[in-house]
């Protein structure tokens, strides 16, 4: 037996979830080991070369507000920044960037290297060390052991991964390898439900063989919007992406070869995401469409690989070659690597608590694709929460749990833990019922204070945040104290309906077509105020009329949350609950009535029944 090295937290896996988990635990002051097969693989973007988007951009901002890595790395690697939905309201705007793979990986690795208390261990984990039903560390392939109070598993598609290119399939992940069998068996023993998912990728193209001159080009925004609250401008050279379209000739080739597709040939059992269909899917399900957009996204400044976003496929390589060449601008294109579909197992996240700890095995945390999510941003956000909580466990501190009403991270974890997944889970803004208040622009205001009290946030960010909030508060006060008459407004060319009410400059922000620039001349104390901060307050003004309503809805939700269900509550004793609901409840063990209410198949009557039993534990007969 080798020497046992002791850590507070061990993180298994160096993907986006693993990197954030290790960094978050270390930021809280834990001694962390990040165990990965290949040190150089940390921070690699394995799929599309982009970060952010709608919903996802919100997640990145929230990660940044908690001092996570992703926002800063994406800013360092961004080669084309675009704020999506720029012409819609700020609540539904999402920052997005094309990222240079090399720059992104370098940025992540550099930040991890600079993080104190974090050690990277290049090794293979073969088993968990479990004592008295609690995880105590991990065992490595060389027989040595890393002791830890908490272990975060971010195994990605490690579980039974299979890659498909047409009817060719290849074992992916590490299945079949004797070492991983033990870890697999250990996880199987946890008695967690599993599901099977799939995801697809497009063929990678050689950019030197694309006829760019024929294509419509899409540049980034003239005024790039950064992910991190600490950054102001991009550092990398900015580029444009190309846009082209499939056509009838493309679709015909796809249709003629459907039987060869892994997915349509019946070779795949996993469930794919509805929102990321393969080209096969698009051609079959939307047969009347004569063309589908394809975005040609360069993978890096010094890399000629191009990622054609929109044509994920599992057709054989030669069919991919044929259909790609029917597309305008791609007539002579060379494929560097054919597209493929990958199938993998995930664990039903309903087996997790809100702190992402496995209910059946204290000390073990799951984050990322293993929980049924897709996307770098979703994985990273879970990693951060799992890492922070693993450290909390090591220190005996209170867990950091997010709520639907405070963050997209809270929405995601709540969805996962109480509803589970039926397709790879991706964030959308429509999943957040409090969308008007959970905005990308105020992620720092929502979460940085939480991060501060959880000791997750550096002093540099703390100072910047406090300075910003002082400025914001001063502008709020100035605007709210200043009443502007209708006549004065009219003289300035602003017409609003007259109803005799006195309106402050802040109130006026809620009127469409009234901009803060028009109001500033009325408020002398704001001469020379920071335009970014003014813009921030202007956004608050737009949604101020809706705040009261959202807050009362949040209060209602919190009420349901305050109704706690004891961990050992026995549902089998409740007469009137269907067997199906009983077993569902018994398995998922919702922590509150509110979360129970979101279980599939839950009825108001059943909820009342549970509430009655929770409140009166000894009275098993409930009068109607």
């Amino acid at each position: 037996m080798f020497h046992v090295k002791h850590f507070d937290v061990v993180v298994i896996g160096g993907g986006h979830a693993g990197a954030e988990a290790a960094a978050a635990a270390a930021r809280r002051g834990a001694q962390v080991a990040l165990v990965t097969l290949k040190r150089t693989g940390i921070g690699v973007m394995s799929c599309n070369p982009a970060i952010g988007g709608l919903g996802k951009g919100h997640l990145v901002r929230e990660i940044d507000a908690l001092d996570g890595l992703m926002g800063r790395a994406a800013d360092a690697a961004g080669i084309q920044f675009r704020l999506l939905n720029r012409r819609k309201g700020p609540a539904v705007q999402g920052p997005r960037a094309q990222a240079d793979r090399e720059l992104y990986r370098d940025a992540i690795q550099k930040m991890l290297a600079q993080q104190g208390g974090l050690q990277i261990v290049e090794a293979e984990v073969v088993d968990l060390v479990v004592e008295r039903d609690t995880v105590r560390g991990v065992e490595l392939a060389d027989g040595s052991t890393l002791g830890a109070a908490a272990v975060v598993l971010t195994a990605g598609t490690f579980l039974n991964g299979v890659m498909h290119i047409g009817d060719q399939k290849r074992q992916g992940g590490r299945v079949g390898d004797a070492a991983s069998v033990r870890l697999g068996q250990r996880l199987a023993d946890l008695d967690l439900d599993r599901g099977r998912l799939k995801t697809g990728t497009p063929p990678r193209l050689d950019g030197r063989t694309i006829d760019w001159a024929r294509l419509q080009m899409q540049p980034g925004d003239a005024e790039p919007v950064m992910f991190s609250f600490l950054n102001r401008a991009p550092t990398a050279r900015q580029i444009a992406c190309g846009i082209t379209e499939t056509n009838e000739a493309t679709h015909e080739i796809v249709r003629d070869n459907l039987h060869l597709s892994a997915m349509y040939g019946g070779y795949i059992e996993g469930i794919g995401p509805r929102y990321c269909p393969s080209i096969e899917d698009k051609v079959v399900r939307f047969a009347d469409k004569t063309g589908h957009q394809v975005f040609l996204e360069p993978e890096g400044l010094d890399d000629h690989t191009v990622y054609p976003n929109g044509i994920a496929t599992s057709l054989p390589a030669e069919v991919q070659q044929a259909y790609v060449r029917t597309i305008a601008g791609l007539e002579a294109v060379e494929i560097l690597q054919p597209g493929y579909a990958i199938e993998y197992d995930f664990f039903d996240p309903r087996g997790l608590a809100m702190d992402l700890q496995v209910r059946n095995l204290p000390g073990l945390y799951f984050a990322g694709q293993i929980n049924g999510t897709t996307g770098y941003e979703e994985a990273a956000a879970q990693g951060l929460i799992a890492g922070a909580n693993a450290a909390a466990r090591a220190f005996g501190a209170a867990p950091l749990t997010m709520h639907r009403s405070d963050s997209y991270i809270g929405v995601m974890i709540d969805d996962l833990v109480s509803r589970g997944v039926t397709e790879p889970y991706r964030m959308f803004t429509s999943r957040a019922e409090f969308r008007l208040t959970l905005r990308a622009d105020n992620a720092d205001q929502r979460l940085t204070p939480m991060g501060l009290s959880a000791q997750l946030v550096s002093s540099e960010r703390k100072d910047a945040f406090e300075l910003k909030m002082q400025g914001v508060q001063a502008i709020r006060v100035s605007l709210s104290e200043h009443v502007i008459g209708t006549a004065a407004l009219r003289a300035a060319g602003i017409t609003i309906s007259e109803d005799g009410s006195r309106r402050t400059a802040f109130d006026l922000l809620a009127f469409p077509d009234v901009t803060i620039a028009q109001l500033l001349p009325f408020v002398p104390s704001l001469q020379g105020a920071d335009p970014d901060l003014c813009h921030q307050v202007a956004i608050e003004g737009i949604y101020a009329p809706y705040l009261a309503r959202q807050n009362s809805e949040i209060a209602l939700l919190r009420q349901g949350d305050a109704a706690l269900i004891p961990e050992d509550f026995d549902y089998t004793g409740i007469s009137g609950l269907s067997n199906e609901l009983q077993s569902k409840l018994q398995r998922s063990k919702p922590e509150t009535i509110e979360r129970a209410s979101r279980l599939e198949g839950m009825t108001p009557a059943a909820l009342l029944l549970i509430l009655a039993h929770v409140r009166k534990p000894h009275q098993h007969r409930v009068a109607s």
Partner: protein
Amino acid sequence: METVFALATARGKAGLAVIRVSGPRAHEAVQALCGRCPPIRQAAVRRLMWRGEVLDDALVLLFAHGASFTGEAVAELQVHGSVAVVGAVLRALGEMADLRLAQPGEFTRRALENGLLDIAQVEGLADLIDAETEAQRRQAQRVLSGAIGRRAESWRSRLIRAGALIEASIDFVEEDVPIDVRPEVLELLDGLLQDLRQEVAGSLVAERVRDGFEVAIVGAPNVGKSTLLNALAGREAAITSTVAGTTRDVIEVRMDLVGLPVTVLDTAGLREPGDEVEEIGIRRGIERARGADLRVFLLEGPLEPLEVERVDGDIVLLAKADLRLDLTDPTTLPVSGLTGFGVDALVQQIVATLQQRVLSAGVTTRQRHREALVRAVEAMESARVELCKPSGGMEIVAAEVWTAIRALDVLVGRLDVEALLGEIFASFCIGK
């Protein structure tokens, strides 16, 4: 899960009494009483015995689990309607293991929990049991059959469609959703607003059918209002005298007018009050009369001014017809509570007026339903306003549509975002 039993018919002496048993041991329990149960859903006479004693000869009827009122195994025993027989059978059932007396409403609650009824249907069932008049019975039957649920379902699916269109334009802006969704959303909202406003108006009428219409008799003191009330009620409901101001408080008499539930209100005569008590009575009378569904003005002269305004559809009567010689004024109906002259014509006119209103009754019958509908209407109106602004925010339209959907959820249950995403993915080619 326990098996419960209870007397399902009213207590007391009657020709028949029905005892209902529901739960996993229901059939077993009845078998213990009658020896051999008849086949499911086939009634048969059986002798009920317990501890060697004959209890009664009863008609026994069994329903299978999943095909009964509560959704559980159910047995019904039709016994002779004697207090002693019922008591003996209930006692026998109570002595069996795992059986207990049902709580009030427990059968219905089990039906609700087992998904056989929704909340609105339970309300309909309660109304049916409480129904006293034909109009009430018809309405309760409609609610019980799930009419609210069906209608709300149709509203909701249209709102979800609107929500899905909006969300698609927000969350999938980069994707192949090239169309401007505003025209379709606007069309959906306009159609829904029309339907919901109509339902709100109809629900007021439906609530009247449930709770009774209020008809107020209004007039000067000593004009014969109480005498008219008594004539309508066919009994001495109010004290009558020739002394003005005899009626000091509002007197209510509930009656069934040709199938319609009507509460007739007799109010204090409208005059300068003699004392503080009368003043309170008059104030109260005026308030009730204004709030009533229909007012019957009892006048001694055609142009008598009163503090209560006349509304379209109100009825004007010429009082004390027995004391008049000239009854030819065509603008008023002559009536005499004392002789009964004109009372039938009055009843006919009240019924005709109310019946006209019942025709527009909605399927929603309660304040609770109407509040939900009004909230939904308000939210949709705000959504519409925002949608029509040139710079209107789709996220704000979406928030209002969500508020409307949640309001309608009160009628039928919860909606979750998955339903909405499902609609999006079925309709558009999302994904690049």
